[in-house]
């Protein structure tokens, strides 16, 4: 099963339509599970829901052999965490699909690092769907440890304890 997900904040008709066309053209013979947000385009080749409860979403990700989505960080993170091959199409500001082109920037960066595949426009999608079938994403090693440690140190400094949270601190003396 292929999971198609476009996030929830803005519609993303361009991707839903391109995926629909690709399937119509016989590019994908797998079953599709789709979450399309407020997109107004109604796909002809697969069923789609606008929003999904978290557990249903997780289930779709878990069952999917590959994911096609917008280049939202939630989608990218989910795919990387579960080693799912991911093909993204970045939302673009010029089509009013996002407030800026940050999806384009992150898609380029992660594509370069070998983590994801990117279709930069609808025309590229069918070829990239073909590539997705054999794509093996490079694992990403995140290092949240140091970030966590930095924030932890800051918070402990505020609470006046070097060893973490205190239970008997009077914060009125803080400022």
């Amino acid at each position: 099963m292929i999971f198609l997900t476009v996030g929830t904040q803005f519609p993303f008709d361009r991707l839903v339509k391109a995926a629909d066309r690709a399937i119509e053209a016989g590019k994908l013979d797998e079953e599709i599970c789709a979450q399309v947000g407020d997109s107004s385009y109604r796909p002809r080749c697969f069923e789609a829901v606008s929003h999904m409860e978290k557990h249903l979403f997780d289930e779709c990700v878990h069952k999917a052999s590959a994911i096609i989505g917008h280049a939202g960080m939630g989608t990218i993170t989910t795919a990387l965490d579960q080693d799912k091959p991911l093909l993204v199409m970045p939302r673009l500001r010029k089509y009013r699909e996002a407030v800026n082109d940050h999806q384009l920037a992150i898609a380029r960066k992660f594509e370069k690092l070998g983590h994801i595949l990117v279709a930069y426009d609808a025309e590229e999608l069918p070829a990239k769907i073909e590539a997705l079938k054999s794509f093996v994403p490079r694992k990403r090693k995140a290092q949240p440890g140091q970030v966590t440690e930095r924030i932890s140190r800051f918070l402990d400094g505020l609470s006046g304890s070097e060893n973490g949270p205190t239970k008997s601190r009077d914060l009125s003396s803080m400022d």
């Binding site: 978290k54 940050h102 949270p165 803080m174």
Partner: protein, 156 residues
């Protein structure tokens, strides 16, 4: 006016999706403190089930000024009602609003700019940077572009 508390009250503020995902990766850092959450859609409240209080303020972005206003009013109720000691946010608009409001209430502000901002900091991040007490970015090249920001690695 500050009330006496036993421990720091920490506000976690982030939009649903990638923003909240990134914020929750830092969960080790606020262990033991009193925490409440502010997010944008009810869909993620289950994900935040471990936290006692979750406020859903609605989605907004700069393209819809009226929605921003509505979210602003909701955020005001939360910020002035809870009066946190610290706010930690990864954005976007709602997180940014919470940072400014909590700062007004005397809170310290910790900003972690989302990993999606590769070439420049987010608009929210660039605004919050001015008032942040700790401002972190997730790409090393951004440190050279902005004064006072730190890079300690990425959470994704």
């Amino acid at each position: 006016m500050k009330r006496k508390r036993d421990t720091l009250r920490v506000c976690l503020a982030a939009s649903a999706g990638g923003h909240i995902t990134q914020l929750l990766r830092l969960s080790e850092s606020w262990k033991g403190y009193e925490v409440f959450c502010v997010t944008t859609t009810a869909v993620v409240t289950k994900k935040l089930g471990d936290y006692a209080r979750v406020y859903v303020v609605g989605e907004c972005n700069r393209e819809h000024p009226l929605r921003v206003l509505r979210v602003l009013v909701k955020c005001m109720t939360v910020a002035f009602g809870e009066r946190p000691d610290v706010v930690i946010s990864t954005g976007a608009a709602a997180g940014c609003i919470m940072c400014f409001l909590c700062k007004l209430c005397g809170a310290k502000v910790i900003w972690l700019d989302s990993i999606t901002n590769v070439e420049k900091m987010s608009l929210s991040g660039r605004m919050v940077r001015r008032i942040a007490d700790l401002c972190l970015v997730q790409w090393p090249e951004l440190v050279e572009k902005y004064n006072g920001v730190e890079y300690k690695g990425s959470v994704i």
